[in-house]
Structure formats: structure tokens, C-alpha cells
Symmetry: C2
Subunit: 219 residues, 2 copies
DNA sequence: GCAAAAGTGTTATTCTTACACCCATGG
DNA sequence: CCATGGGTGTAAGAATAACACTTTTGC
């Protein structure tokens, strides 16, 4: 029985949640889009296999990566019995350039709201990943993983809105973030729009303390 | 690469959370306790493999069963590379008699508060399962899976207390359950203690409606 | 009649939600 | 000077948490 890892790689571009898909160059499902993935090597852990695939497709490492679920229906790959351990990863917008040429496959960011037909059972995997991401958003700080180191409050709210696919109230959002005390204001401002927006940094250390007390994200 | 399923089978006996362990008859870890499990057959799904193992160990089917996480460190089994897909199952007290003789291994319920040393990385799997169960308890109705069809409110509260390992306020607990409107009172009473306790039945259909509205368990 | 578990409400506090205007800058 | 997105507070309603006594039965 063979074991692969498939990775749902999310990012946010233009206020939209996107996922990385690769076009298959060989049968089965030749020409269709699929999630990036590959075989787990004999001497590497599942996590390491996922990290390797991620690096091969995008060139990035050191990003948020979490195991999702394992899929192993007989027949999910028409050639042979394959069990795949699915992962999802979050890449900040400023690092979501693709690693051109590191892989022979054609890869592209696809909008979650307008997905093509996917090979194998990858549609199911993707839906599961989105559900997990939405849940995690509500009681963890995964949202920050999709932003650069410094970001404005509007940008942070945009991440939440893109993932949850609904509008949030600006003042209530800011109050909740404020109460969590997990942001450190910088002295920098994002210019380029109209009024410049103050930039903040995620203060993870403070969040760890909150977790210990059982205080969590109330979105 | 070989794929196995391991199952964390929970039940509640004498107001305590217990887990099914089997004593290993062969090396490695001969004589130590381990989670029940076995190889995934070539033609069965992961879920079916888990259900089969569960039935072989306990004789029960048609119980709550959920995939937990996959573990695949090289070296987690000293003999060869094995990826295990862990599941957890919930069995109600009235069905937790062991299927004697259906399997050659020696199986026993062990208190979660007093676990023996476990083989392989099974301690880690068990801790992960307990964490998942505790989380699910707070926003799903898994708790009911550990009770017989009819149960008293005190028994239900006992399930929550055993799993969360903390005392809950009786009146607040009852009010919350009441508000959810997921229990149907029967005309039966549990006798044998002092004052007889009214028995209730879980009305799953009502819960589905709540889920649709996003209303969840507030424990 | 008394020990033991079942059952039952109120209040204070905290959290959530809805809602509208002024501010700083770029053009 | 005006268009654009940034920034700020309040009040009503809902949810949560703390808390003690009466009732029904078995022995």
C-alpha cells in the first residue's frame, strides 16, 4: 500500500482566499487540476514529506502547516491503492510567489469561489480543509499566518472576511482584537491609500498565556 | 509502506472514563499494553478497517467512530515503516462488555487516570484522542454516545464531568441542556438510588436543526 | 425519621451585537 | 476641498456563573 501527502496551500490575494493547484501532466486525470502532493519517502516523517512538497511547489518553508485528515478509499486512485495524508498550509501574501522552475508541473493560484474540476477526490479534501480553516480561525491565531509581519487592522479584518466569506463589523472586530492583547503597535504606517493605517505586529508570546487561561478567539 | 489503524475505544464505567487496551503477546513490546489495531486490508477503506477492528475487539458495531490523526514517524515501529491512522470510538456503558474469545489477545478497560506504560507511541495517540474528545464534547453531542438510550440528567452530567475531569454546576448544566431542546422526557424513572430520576431520550433530529442555525453546545 | 440523590430560580457580571460620525491624507 | 478609507463609543439584550433549599424515596 502506498502513502502520499497532498497539500492544500492557502493564501490571500486581492482580499480573496486562494489555493494552489497544479495541472496534471500525466494520466489519470491528465490536464485536470489537482492538489500538489507526492509519495512519502521511506525515511521521512509525514510532516517532513508535506514540508518537502510545499517547498518544492512554492519555495517556502517555515510556514504554518497542519495535518488535516487521511483519505484511503480503495479506488480513489484508479491505478492502485493509495492512502493520502492531507495537510493544509497557510502562506502570507508577501511570500506567495511561486517557485518557478523548481518543478516541471504547471502551478497556479485559484480562487476558492471559482474552483475548476479537480482530479481524484481532491474536491472533497479541499472542502474539508476550508471547513477546518474556518473553525480554527475562530479559536486560534491562524489568521495571522496569512499576513506579512506587519499589517493594518483593516488587512487583518480582510483575512477574516475572506475566509469566513462574510462581512464583520469594524468596531466589534477591533474591540475583540484589542481585548485579546495579542497585537503590538509599531510606529509605522501603511501609506498609499488615503489616511495612513497604523501597522501592528502579532505578539505570539502573549497569546500563549491566554491559551493557558482558556481564553480564546471569539469570532 | 504498511498502513494500520489503531483505535482508542472509550467508555464510561463507575463515573470514570476508560479506554480499551490489549496486552501484546509478541515482540516488540511483548507483555506491554497497546491500543487495539491492525493492518488495513487491500480492499477496505480506512473507516471500514477501523470498524472491523472495533468489532473484533468488542463485538459491537454501529457506534460512534471518528478518524483522529495519522502517525508516521520513521522508527515508531522498530520492525518496519508503518503509518497508522488513529481513530477513536465511543461505546455506551451498557454495551461495553468485551467480546470474549473473538480475539486471542487479552483486552481490558483501563482507567484514563491510571494508565499503564504503553507500547509504541500509543501514549501520544491516547492523549491526542482525549484532547479531541474534550473539544468535541463542547460543541457536539458526542456525550450522548456514551450513554444508553434512556438516561437521567445526573448520568448525563456524570459523562461530562468524567471526560472534562471537573465538577459542573447542576442547575447551570440542566438549564443549558434544557435550552438546547434536544432531550425528550420519557415516562420512566431510574429507581434503585434514593429518589427516582426521570429518564430522557436524546432527540437527534432537533439537534440537526440547531446545527443549521449555528447554535452549539455551550459547555 | 433520616440519609441520599433529585429537582428547582434569581441575581450580578460579562459578552455580544447593532449602530453613525469625525479624522487624516492624497489627489 | 472633497473623496477615501482609518479610526472611535455606547446602549440593549443575551449568555454565563455563582449560589441553597425543598422534595422524594429507600432503609
Amino acid at each position: 500500500m502506498k502513502v502520499t501527502v497532498d497539500i492544500v496551500i492557502f493564501t490571500i490575494q486581492s482580499d480573496e482566499l486562494k489555493v494552489l493547484l497544479v495541472k496534471r501532466g500525466i494520466p489519470p486525470f491528465k490536464g485536470q487540476f489537482a492538489l500538489p502532493g507526492g509519495f512519502v519517502h521511506e525515511d521521512e516523517s509525514l510532516d517532513n514529506a508535506a514540508m518537502r512538497e510545499l517547498r518544492e511547489e512554492t519555495g517556502v518553508s517555515d510556514v504554518y502547516l497542519e495535518q488535516l485528515y487521511s483519505f484511503g478509499e480503495p479506488g480513489r486512485d484508479p491505478r492502485e491503492r493509495i492512502v493520502t495524508v492531507a495537510y493544509y498550509a497557510l502562506i502570507s501574501a508577501d511570500r506567495s510567489q511561486l517557485a518557478a522552475g523548481t518543478d516541471t508541473t504547471e502551478a497556479a493560484w485559484s480562487r476558492m469561489s471559482k474552483l475548476p474540476i479537480l482530479a481524484f477526490d481532491h474536491r472533497k479534501i479541499l472542502e474539508y480543509a476550508l471547513e477546518r480553516l474556518r473553525n480554527k480561525l475562530e479559536y486560534t491565531t491562524v489568521g495571522f499566518q496569512l499576513l506579512p509581519e506587519k499589517f493594518s487592522l483593516t488587512e487583518l479584518q480582510g483575512v477574516y472576511e475572506a475566509i469566513l466569506d462574510k462581512r464583520l463589523d469594524k468596531r466589534n472586530f477591533r474591540r475583540k482584537i484589542e481585548l485579546l492583547k495579542i497585537l503590538k503597535p509599531t510606529s509605522e504606517y501603511r501609506r498609499g491609500g488615503q489616511r495612513p493605517a497604523r501597522l501592528y505586529r502579532f505578539a505570539a508570546a502573549r497569546f500563549e498565556k491566554l491559551k493557558d487561561k482558556g481564553i480564546l478567539f471569539p469570532f
